[in-house]
Symmetry: C2
Subunit: 255 residues, 2 copies
């Protein structure tokens, strides 16, 4: 089982290390920058390149882990071969491989990856898609070596899942950033928020987030809401406060 990685970002880093850990061989890493390619190849102990024309042609699996804007262009730049070509992008259809490869699919790990942070792949939900049932069965074998949580999902459903993940992860994380900024300005250590943040998440393991909602917006406590708005001098933060409070209120009226 030899694998070539095309891309060396956060996801490629964590996925390639997880694959190596379960005994798969990473044959080569490509990135358009020598720095990224060299850094990941150094961790994996394998060759690297910034030149698509020298990609090893005999790997079993080619993992394209690139941002949407360059994915199609890079796929078109790789010479056809007999390997299984997959990408890892939530919002890109499987059909980006059409006309470029005969065996292809998608492996979308529903997780947030940072180069420097180890994650336990065992519990990460992996969403697969393949261009034929035969490729699907072969591909599922590879994926189940990485995680116990593997299922098939169409490109059409996957793009909605990716959108939901942007809300659940990227947007909530950014709101933590804003909350931390508010406290830093007041010289209050931001870590005081952690028990609250932990409990907010623990709650939705036992009840729906709609049922778990608390605070001034669901009570529509205008007194508090107006005081809060007056305290926010950043216009974007004020707009975020208004829009989310309104949305919480609207949601509670719908129920």
């Amino acid at each position: 089982m030899k694998i070539v990685f095309v891309g060396a970002g956060n996801l490629a880093t964590r996925l390639s290390l997880a694959m190596q850990r379960v005994g798969m061989q990473i044959g080569q890493v490509y990135s358009h920058t020598a720095e990224s390619a060299g850094q990941l190849a150094g961790r994996l102990g394998c060759p690297w390149t910034t030149d698509l024309s020298v990609l090893q042609p005999d790997a079993d699996l080619y993992v394209f882990s690139l941002k949407g804007t360059v994915l199609e262009e890079v796929i078109a730049g790789v010479k056809p071969n007999n390997g299984l070509w997959i990408h890892t992008a939530g919002s890109m259809p499987m059909t980006v491989f059409e006309g470029h490869a005969s065996r292809y699919g998608v492996l979308y790990p529903l997780q947030t990856f940072s180069k420097g942070r180890e994650v336990n792949f065992d519990v990460i939900p992996l969403f697969l898609e393949a261009n034929t049932d035969k490729e699907g069965a072969y591909f599922k074998n590879i994926a189940t070596a990485l995680s116990e949580n593997v299922r098939f999902l169409s490109s059409e459903k996957r793009r909605h899942l990716h959108l939901a993940a942007v809300f659940a992860c990227n947007f909530t994380n950014h709101i933590y950033t804003l909350a931390y900024k508010l406290l830093e300005k007041e010289e209050i250590p931001a870590e005081v928020l952690l028990p609250l943040i932990d409990e907010t998440v623990a709650k939705i393991h036992t009840m729906s987030p709609a049922a778990a909602q608390t605070g001034p917006a669901i009570r529509y406590d205008k007194n508090v809401i107006n005081k809060h708005l007056a305290m926010l001098d950043d216009p974007d933060m004020k707009a975020i406060y208004q829009l989310l409070s309104w949305s919480i209120h609207k949601e509670s009226q719908d129920e």
Copy 2:
């Protein structure tokens, strides 16, 4: 140590039960509705009333746990006595007691409370304020029986802390609600998001949320962002997506 609770909402429910658990006696519960007062008094095994004029006058501690809009009015409706009067509202100054009580303060537990969900008070950060140092020392003794995490914080700082908590808890929880809705529409079980949500929070225990940020907005992947916007037909969700993506991008440029 006898305590009277004025208010019977989520916070009053969890705080009174926690106080009872450490051996404090809840003497009476007031709420403006018989249903709420009776429900909490039933759990505590104590008398209840909806009439402020029959509030027991001999308690050591009076806990006013009410939303901001009615807090001042209810305080003004209670006959002066020798107890320590406190409220639990993040955004209300301690001075709401001026002219109504001689001994007063604030106990703000930084947590999200639901009537039906038990919480471990031991780790909840409690922020205290008292009108004199003497009351502060007495009050701190009471609070440390509930939590290991007790400190003093002024009304001015507390209102900023409360604002940050609305972001970190209420807004993130609402974004979970929106993410769940997106998946339910596609008939994908919303629980698939939980490992992602858990990891998003686990990350900020070891790095700042700004350093932990991932996803299309921080890469400013217009291809993905535009596809996502086209998929959102609810105008409020579209506006939330645009505003938060822009704010993530802006934040990453500032660094």
